[in-house]
Symmetry: C2
Subunit: 338 residues, 2 copies
């Protein structure tokens, strides 16, 4: 894993790929990896304020990637893109749990309605394209057992989780009923290059990274014992590629997780260490709005992805976070972007 060079996916050489949300964190890493592998890459991104999408995420590859700024349900903008697409990676979405509780109708529109409109366009225009959808471990809610496998009940604890689950289920229904080769990946917490660091609400990892880089105290809620199995974005990108290429993926949902599950306090300390130890780790009581939608410890069982897709995470947290810190030191605008 190089510090700043994107992963390359040569299996997609010459293929036409469409990445929704391709100016955002995971989408831009995927778009760059596809382009580095020789694919023709188009991106559609609504650049919704506060979602972390940024033209600069594509860096110098901007001239090689076709970018359309539009919502994924925008018929006029999306149909021409779909007509050319062999493989569609549907990554677009709003990820903030707190934001979804403050403005639930907006979350519904962004995370469900626009995806349903997009699926209808795919069904109309390009039903033979392979489609990989990014879902989230948030669909499970509070785990009943660990590690959580795909058979675990899905009882989300916030509006964002409900909406992401509905979108995932809609994707799988379009696979089953309309014979579109769609698969879905349930992501756990993801970190790595090209993540918006300056906004809270996009997960604890970018906040930890920002504070470590700024020399500020990382505040961990409660006792810091809650487990998370964090994934480096390169591992996620590889899983998306395998889901697109696997003949057995269609109609299935796969957990992506990591066998290295760490407490939040440990994660915070590893981030501080990776950044050179200038910042510290503190502890604060749970803010009430967070506590009400918190899920406790989580680790995902990814044996189905291993079995069907041949995927397993390759990047350990200490290694991945060191490369991540190095990336942001080379791209300091991520710390001042608004």
């Amino acid at each position: 894993m190089a510090d700043t060079d994107p992963l390359a996916l040569p299996a997609f050489r010459g293929a036409s790929c469409l990445v929704t949300g391709g100016l955002g964190f995971i989408g831009s890493n995927l778009a760059l990896a596809l382009r580095a592998g020789g694919a023709h890459v188009a991106v559609v991104d609504a650049l919704v304020p506060e979602h972390g999408g940024d033209w600069r995420n594509l860096g110098d590859a901007r001239s090689d990637i076709s970018v359309t700024v539009a919502g994924i349900g925008d018929r006029d903008a999306v149909i021409p893109l779909l007509r050319r697409a062999d493989i569609i990676f549907n990554v677009a979405g709003q990820v903030s749990h707190l934001e979804s509780m403050a403005d639930p109708l907006r979350d519904l529109d962004l995370n469900v309605r626009s995806h349903l409109a997009f699926l209808e366009l795919v069904r109309d225009v390009r039903p033979r394209a392979t489609l990989v959808h990014t879902s989230t471990r948030q669909v499970y809610g509070r785990p009943r057992y660990l590690p959580v496998d795909e058979e675990h009940v899905t009882t989300p604890v916030d509006v964002n989780g409900v909406d992401k689950l509905a979108a995932e289920q809609l994707h799988l229904i379009y696979a089953a009923v309309h014979d579109i080769p769609i698969s879905a990946l349930r992501l756990t917490n993801v970190y790595g290059p090209r993540q918006c660091l300056t906004r809270d609400g996009l997960g604890f990892l970018p906040v930890f990274v920002r504070r470590a880089l700024m020399g500020e105290t990382i505040q961990v809620y409660g006792d810091g014992q809650q487990l998370r199995d964090c994934l480096h974005v390169d591992d996620v990108v590889r899983a998306m590629a395998l889901a697109a290429l696997s003949p057995d993926a269609a109609g299935n949902v796969f957990n992506l997780g990591h066998d290295e599950a760490l407490g939040l306090g440990t994660i915070a300390r590893l981030v501080v260490d990776a950044a050179g130890g200038a910042s510290t780790v503190g502890s604060v009581p749970w803010p009430p709005d967070h506590a009400r939608i918190d899920i406790g410890s989580f680790r995902g069982d990814f044996s189905k992805a291993k079995r069907v897709l041949g995927w397993a995470p390759e990047v350990g947290f200490a290694e991945g976070i060191a490369a991540t810190i190095a990336f942001y030191r080379e791209h300091p605008w991520y710390l001042s972007s608004t």
Copy 2:
């Protein structure tokens, strides 16, 4: 159980009740039972074409029940109703599975977006009101085991199921996060008076009843062995009343089911018998659009409702369908309504 007199719910005497979808099948039966018990009843109903809502469902009680024709997310119409409501029964919704596949965005707007807008209004205006939401066994999809309890995974097989599940989960999140005393009931197939008989797509029971009353052949799909635990609407109305009155209901979801699970062929024959035997039962292969979203046999485990609410079904199918047929013979407009 009288043939045409509505159930009366004296426990609600003097209470202010709001019934959404109160001109429809279940909503009108509930509104009439509340009114007969001495409650002050207001109804809000969008009278969405093809949903089965009809002013005539309230019969002579129309003058005693305040009716507002509006969507449940309509702020100006709904806020004054919420301010007066002690107990809210949220029954509104679109129920057709096939319709949801043909126009999925409409189903999303009616079954999720409007409910989320309604919940936001409840949270703003009347967060202390008790709210009972009607969900559906459709949230389970194809049963993994029978009888299906509330711990069964929820994997809907059509857009309507996804949308109903999202709405139910949103209700329970508003209960947990915003402390609103909300419960949800997952209904199995319901029959009885005041059901729209003339439109297909509202379930097989009204179609069977219509064909029996018209002396037409009831066509059962496939071998007719699929099990269903049908509920008379009076049993559903009693469950809703118990959910509103029980101090332990809030935050919970309850299956409503029946221990009498019958094959579809048997159900058809019982409907024919109840109507006097003038019609017949036939068999046709599964239409492809139905087959793709069919769930096989279903019977619900309602032991949680029994334990927590003290509810069990009281109306057997033969008895209930006889009373239902008698009702429609006395109200023949149901057979010619469009």
